[in-house]
Structure formats: structure tokens, C-alpha cells
Symmetry: C3
Subunit: 344 residues, 3 copies
């Protein structure tokens, strides 16, 4: 794929400065780009690399331009502009449509004509695969499950019986959608398994990372709303609801029946306890433990969680704890001495 800088500027809604006829064939980082590549600048670390770059074009904001004399596309959102250009120049290598002969598809499954069903796939009774979907090698789609149009499941993904995925979802290798929730009743010391009768319902444009596990609901459904992005190795327990456009980084665990709001971000290794709510537009720093409901938008950190500014003040003191304790001890001795002095 090749395009002129002028075409790329038009594609991403940016303003061209320089040679619009220059031909661009790929995207690259500032450091590794050559004269046929386009790169981008987003913030400080990038800016330092700008003058050394050999990139044929650079996408940047007007304030990052400085005295750079090369060909550029000016954009208010260089990262987004770059993303759209990358999608154009580097469409992901799609497998050709068709059903691999080694795939096992139940007689009553409904598979749209232009899908790509990979080798060693299993599609069970009554499942439905939407138009243009790609089911990677080794995937297992359970009975009655539905995969929306244009969704792409990479290798060895499991979607259990009855679960629904929307359109244009991306699911990475080894992810499991619809495992049983962790629900047991006690009979004395022993546990008896409570049937997990709900489904996982995933909206459109959701991305789910490698080896992430999302449990089906106990009675009602587990819900992942439109536009949610889940990274690798995340655990979402039964009956959680994750709100639209929320992004969750790797290794996060969310316990049962918790609702996470819309447009939230949870950084890596965050833990969220069960049966609570996180409001819309909440941002949680890495490794924090969300131990109670958060009603106000904002940024939070710590374990247990607190507003970020409070956490920052307290976290600094953590490293001074031994010093604080020693100073306290000294004060106690001083005051004991002063009191002695008074008595005399």
C-alpha cells in the first residue's frame, strides 16, 4: 500500500506542510523511520527524537513543530491521526474467507458465507457466526453462542455456550469467555457448586486480551459494554458490568457483581472487590485495591484506595516511616526529661 502525504493528511483531517506528492509506504517510530515512512510525535520524549529522524513525514501538533523543517501533517491528535494512517497502510493480514476442512461445525450452526473459519476450530450446535467474522485456528465456539459481524477471534479462544459477542470485537489467543462463575454454597465444611445459569454478553467494538477470563453470570448475565478494551490476563467475575469505553490494563481482577462505570481506566494489577460500584470517569492507578464504592469521578490510588492526591502525600511518608518512628521516640524522651525537670 502506498499513499501521498496529501492523501494521508486528508484521511486524518490534518493540515499538510511540505511536499504533498511525497509517497509514503509505511509507518515507523521516529528512530527507525526512513524516507518512505511516516512517524509521529506525542509529547516530550518524542520531541527530542524529532530532529534526528529520517522520516519522510511526521505527524505532530503545532506546538511540537518548533523549527522542524521536514514535511509534516499538523494534527490536534497526532496519535489518532497516526493510528488511522497505520490502519490504511498496514491492514492486518486477514486469512482468506472459507471454512478450513479440519474445522468441525455442527449441522445446525449458522455460519455466514464470507467468514474465515480456521483449522481445528469447533463450532457447536446452534452457534451463529456473523458476516465477515474470523475464527482463528483452535477456537471453540460453544452451543448457541453468537459471534457478531466482523469480529476476529485469534487462536485457541474459547467462547462458551450461549455467550454473545457483538460486531467488530477482537479477542486474543487463549482468552476464555463464559467459564462458570465461582459460586458455591457451604454444606458444613464442604462446598456445593451453584449452577451458573447466566451468560456473558459482550457489546460491539470490544477488545479482549490474551488469556483473559470472563465468567458467565450466576442467574443474570455478565455484561461487557460497547467499546470496552481489556488487556491480557484479566479476570472478570460473574455478574460484573463493565461500562462503555472503559479500558482495563493487564492482570486486573474484578470480583463478582461489581459495576464499573463508563470511560474508566484501571491500570495494571488493580484489584476490585465484589458487590461495589465505580462511577463513570474514574481512573485507578496501578496495583491499587478498590475496596469500596467510588461515587465521584477522578483519579484514585493505593491499597486501600484513596483519592490520588491524598495517596501521593501519604505514600511519600511511607518511606519516612522509620524516620518518623525514631523522631517520635526521641520526642518522648525529651518530654520525659522536660517533665522530670519541671518536677524538680
Amino acid at each position: 500500500m502506498t499513499a501521498t502525504l496529501a492523501e494521508l493528511a486528508r484521511l486524518c483531517g490534518g493540515a499538510l506542510r511540505g511536499d504533498g506528492a511525497r509517497r509514503i509506504t509505511g509507518v515507523a517510530s521516529l528512530a527507525s523511520a526512513g524516507p518512505c515512512d511516516i512517524a509521529f510525535v506525542a509529547g516530550g520524549a518524542f520531541r527530542d527524537q524529532l530532529h534526528g529522524t529520517r522520516a519522510g513525514g511526521v505527524i505532530l501538533s503545532a506546538q511540537d513543530l518548533g523549527d522542524y523543517a521536514g514535511d509534516v501533517i499538523l494534527s490536534d491528535n497526532p496519535r489518532l491521526a497516526f493510528t488511522r494512517i497505520a490502519v490504511l497502510l498496514h491492514p492486518p493480514p486477514r486469512p482468506p474467507a472459507g471454512v478450513h476442512p479440519s474445522a468441525v461445525i455442527a449441522a445446525d450452526a449458522v455460519v455466514a458465507a464470507d467468514t474465515a473459519i480456521g483449522a481445528q476450530v469447533v463450532i457447536e450446535a446452534g452457534a451463529r457466526i456473523g458476516a465477515g467474522a474470523i475464527i482463528g485456528p483452535g477456537c471453540v465456539i460453544g452451543a448457541g453462542a453468537e459471534i457478531g459481524a466482523g469480529s476476529w477471534l485469534h487462536a485457541n479462544v474459547v467462547v462458551a455456550h450461549g455467550c454473545l459477542l457483538g460486531a467488530r470485537c477482537v479477542v486474543h489467543g487463549g482468552a476464555v469467555i463464559g467459564s462458570d462463575g465461582f459460586g458455591f454454597a457451604r454444606d458444613g465444611a464442604r462446598w456445593e457448586k451453584t449452577p451458573q445459569l447466566g451468560r456473558v454478553v459482550v457489546g460491539d467494538d470490544v477488545e479482549i486480551g490474551a488469556n483473559t477470563a470472563i465468567d458467565r453470570g450466576a442467574l443474570d448475565d455478565t455484561v461487557i459494554e460497547r467499546g470496552v478494551k481489556l488487556d491480557n490476563l484479566i479476570h472478570v467475575a460473574h455478574n460484573c458490568v463493565i461500562g462503555e469505553d472503559t479500558a482495563i490494563a493487564a492482570c486486573v481482577g474484578i470480583a463478582g457483581s461489581t459495576r464499573v462505570g463508563k470511560r474508566c481506566t484501571l491500570a495494571g494489577q488493580v484489584g476490585v472487590v465484589g458487590h461495589i460500584e465505580i462511577a463513570d470517569d474514574v481512573h485507578v492507578m496501578g496495583a491499587a485495591v478498590v475496596s469500596h464504592t467510588i461515587r465521584e469521578p477522578g483519579t484514585y490510588a493505593g491499597s486501600p484506595i484513596e483519592p490520588y492526591q491524598d495517596w501521593l502525600r501519604n505514600a511519600v511518608r511511607m518511606r519516612q516511616l522509620d524516620d518518623l518512628a525514631r523522631r517520635l521516640k526521641k520526642l518522648e524522651q525529651r518530654i520525659a526529661a522536660l517533665s522530670e525537670g519541671e518536677k524538680q
Copy 2:
């Protein structure tokens, strides 16, 4: 499946109050139940929903009954009663017995006649699959491994060579049982792999969650005792022993050669260091780090771990740290001033 309230009361050993002839066809939550559904109440949050419910029957304890006038089953353990009724009314959708033609089964593997072996399964030399077991699509059962009677492995589970699972186990998608333990010897800067010669031995009635990994022992075995319940994305290292009826929530990691007692609960994201022991009946709160042996039953929390009540007192102070440091500073200034006063 349909049953009368009287039949359900008998099944779960509860006391019927109301119309024993009422026909019930399913279980549901209080909020979504209709006149043919049975729901249950267990504690405060549920109680508030009781009067609005349209459920045909409700299982609850005498103290939660209040003035509720609908048909009920009184039970000392409503959650357990509900579980048993749910199992009756909603038996999980079992695949029919038989071996899928795409499954690859070694000539000398022993597969009981009434098992259900799914599509794309691999069963290696000398493996044994017990009566009534279900091996889901894409599972791999290694050479000489044994799966006990009535066990159910969901899709894409791996049980490595020589590992043993007891009867009636449930293993969810993507779990790996019997990967090598993380054992290496140093030769200067380089690591040399120590062969991992033990097995994983899993007792009866164990449940193992999606994408959980249990390593085989180095010399002796890794042991998961009867009735243990493991949630998703748990790591159990080589030579651990997990005691009977212990339940471990998602994202927990347990380092090598550690023994966890019977009837313990470890909440989500707990970390446990290697070569220690946790006594029977220990409960560890979420995200705690068990850094040393625990000899006494009870509840623990924190990182490093402490008894829960101590942790609670200290954790409150964590949020006051900056305030404490400021007050200490002020005191130091006051005392310096007082001392100055004394000298004069």
C-alpha cells in the same frame, strides 16, 4: 424440568409455608423472577428486594421472613437449598456420550464407554478416562494421565503426562495442569533447567478455574486435595499442597513447596511465598501477601500479613500518615521552643 413447591421443599429439607402444589420451572434472582420461578434471600441486600418480588416461591430463613405473605420454603441455609433446587431444575447441558470422530486417541489409552470425548481432543498413550467423564473440545490429555469418573473438562484444557484428577472434578477452559515447575540451577550467570519429575495429583470434587496453571512437582508431587475450589488465573507452583475444602479466589499466586491447610479461604490476588505453611481454617483477605508461616486459625490481611484486627487499626492510620508526619514536625518545633524557654 418442573416440580411442585412441596417437592422442592422435600428436596432441600426445608419447611413449606403456602401452596405446595404450585408448579416451579426455574430459579431466578428476586428482581427478575416470575410466578413459575423460585428465588432466595440470604442477608440484608436481598431482604430489601423481597417485597417487590414476583417470584412464585422464595427460600429464606425464618428470621428473614418478616410479614412476607407469599409462598416460601423456610431453610437454615437458603443458599444451599437454592443450589440444590437449581441443580434439579437446571441440569447443565451435557454433551451426549460418544467419541467425536475428530478426536485423536492413542491406541493404548483407556476410555470408559459412556464418556463424551469432544471434537479435536487429543488423548495420549496410556491415559485413562473414567466412567461418565466429559472431555471438552480441544483438550489435551498427556501420556499416562488419568481423569476420574464423572469429571468434566471444558474446552482447551491441558492435563500433562502422568497427572491424576479424581472423580467429579470440573476444570474450566484453558487451565493447564502439570506444566513444569520453575526450577533452575545457576551455573554462573546462566540457568540450567532442573527436570521436573513429580506429578500433579488432584483429589475428588475439585474445581479449577479458567486459565489457572498448576505446576507438577520437582521430585515429589504437587497435591490438590479433595473438595478444593480454585478460581480463574491462579498459579500453584511445584510441590504445593492445598488442603481439603480450601477455596482460593482468582489471581492468587502460591510459590513453591508451600502447604495451605484445610478449609482455608484465600481472597483475590493474594500472594503466598514459598516453603511456608498456612494452618487449617485460615482466611486471608484480598491482595494480602502471606510472607511467613501462619500457625493459628483466624483472619489475616495486609502486606506483609498480620491478624485482621491489627491490620484494620494500622490501615486506617495509613491514610493519616501525612497528617501524623505534620503533627510530629509541629511537636518537634514546640519542644524546641519549650527547651529554649527552659534554658533562658
Copy 3:
């Protein structure tokens, strides 16, 4: 396999003391070893078991010998000596060379003649499998990926398109190498997926644990250097570089573009933020959060991280926090009283 003690001493470069003609057939722990087994002692806990052992031979250092009168091999590095003897006596059960008829191999994939390709495997277009490699059942090797000579992939591993593994690597069940990095650009509230165009490049002699996930780079590659050992359920984000001979324990998460040095160790559940560097020879204690670049070799702990000795001093105080707060309160009252006294 059987060998004499003298042969084993020669193999591991140790000094024989006792009956060199004694025949040894296996390795075992001190506690379970019999007269045909060899065991080893490494440090205190083992030493206590030495006198009770029935082992035919014991590998140990001169300082651990004491008055033990049995047949021994003296070694400066008993663990390494034991490892080499274990490899000799217990070679792992290799599947026979050959391609299982159920494997699906693209016409233009290049598979060396003496490889063992398991049942239900998928090898896509242009992939290359090196001499002597073992591809376990259910593995998926993406288009253009390369697996080095002598590498062993256990069951259900995914290596995505274009990724490279070196020679003699070991990858455990369910690991995913080459999933997309978690890269999105914001368009208002919505996320747009940035194509992930880099690869994962894995050096020689790397081990990767069960259900670990390593993301491909965004533009440049994610790099795992020679000799790195990764345990289970680890997340390595896009564009990370993990230096030679570094060992990382289970449940660690490393965010994007971070460089970990050579010969480091990260203990279980450590979190590492993105875009930082960890120097060579850094050791991080379990559950620590590496929140900033570490320039000095040494041992670190805590969340946020600090040098281990500092952390130790402060961590002790954490359990005294409530006590410290109460003592501070008392001091404030005493000083208020003293000041009152002064005024009078």
C-alpha cells in the same frame, strides 16, 4: 538409565567419597530416596534431613558434610550437580519424531525432517520449524513464525504470525506469544485500535511458563533475550526488552516499552510500570511495584519500590502505625499540658 556414583561424580565435576561402583538409577528428595537414588543437600533445611536419609548417594558441599558417613559426591554447587545428574538419569519423555496425520501444515511451511509435530497442530503459511523441535498437541504457529532448533512447545501454545523463537526454548501449555499490544488512540471518549506491527523476538534457551502472554511490539519488536526464564501467568507488554539470563516468577506484569536488565530476578506478583529501565543485576522482592527507573544493581522491595534495607525498616513500622499514632496523640496532650504549666 543407570550409572555408577563414580560416573556421576565425573559428569558433574564433583569429588567422590565412598563406593564409586554403587549403581544409581534415579534422583529423589532426601526424605523419599532409596538405596538406588541420589539426593542433594543445599542449605539448612536439607541438612537436618541428611542423617535420616536412605539415599544411595548424596551430593553436598564439604561444609555440609559434617560426620555423614554415607557415599557422597562433594560439589561446590550441589544444586547444579544434581540438575545435571537428573537430566542424565531422567531424560524427559520425548514424543517420537514425525508429523501426526491430524496436524494441518501449510504447503509452504518449512518443517525440519526430525521434528515431532503433535496431533491437532496448526502451522500456517511460511512458518519454519527448526531441526529437532517438538510442537505439542493443539499448538498454533502463525504465518511466517519461526521456531528454533531443539525448541519444545507443550500443548495448546500459540505463537502468532511473524514471531521468532530461538534454539532450545521451552514453552509451556497455553502460553501466547505475539498477541497484539494494548495500543489505542482516543477519539473523544472512544478508543481506536492502533495496528501492532512489531513482532516478539525470543532468544535461545528461553523458558516461558503456562498461560503467560507476551505481546508483539507496536512498531518495533518486543525482545526476550537469550537465557531468560519466565514462569506462569506473566504479562509482558509491547516493546519490552527483557535482558539475558533474567528470571521472572509467576504473576508478574510488565507494562509497555520497559527495559529489564540482564541477570535480574523479579519475584512473584511484581508489577513494573511502562517506559522505565531496570539496570542489570537488580533483584525485586515479591509483590513490589517498580514505579520508576532503577539505575543501581541491588535488591529492592515495596510499593512504591525502595532499596530492600530501607523497605525492611519501614515495613516493620507499618505494623506499629496505630501504636505510633496513639503515642503521638499522647505527646500532644502532654505538651499542651506543659505549655499550660509554663503560662501559669
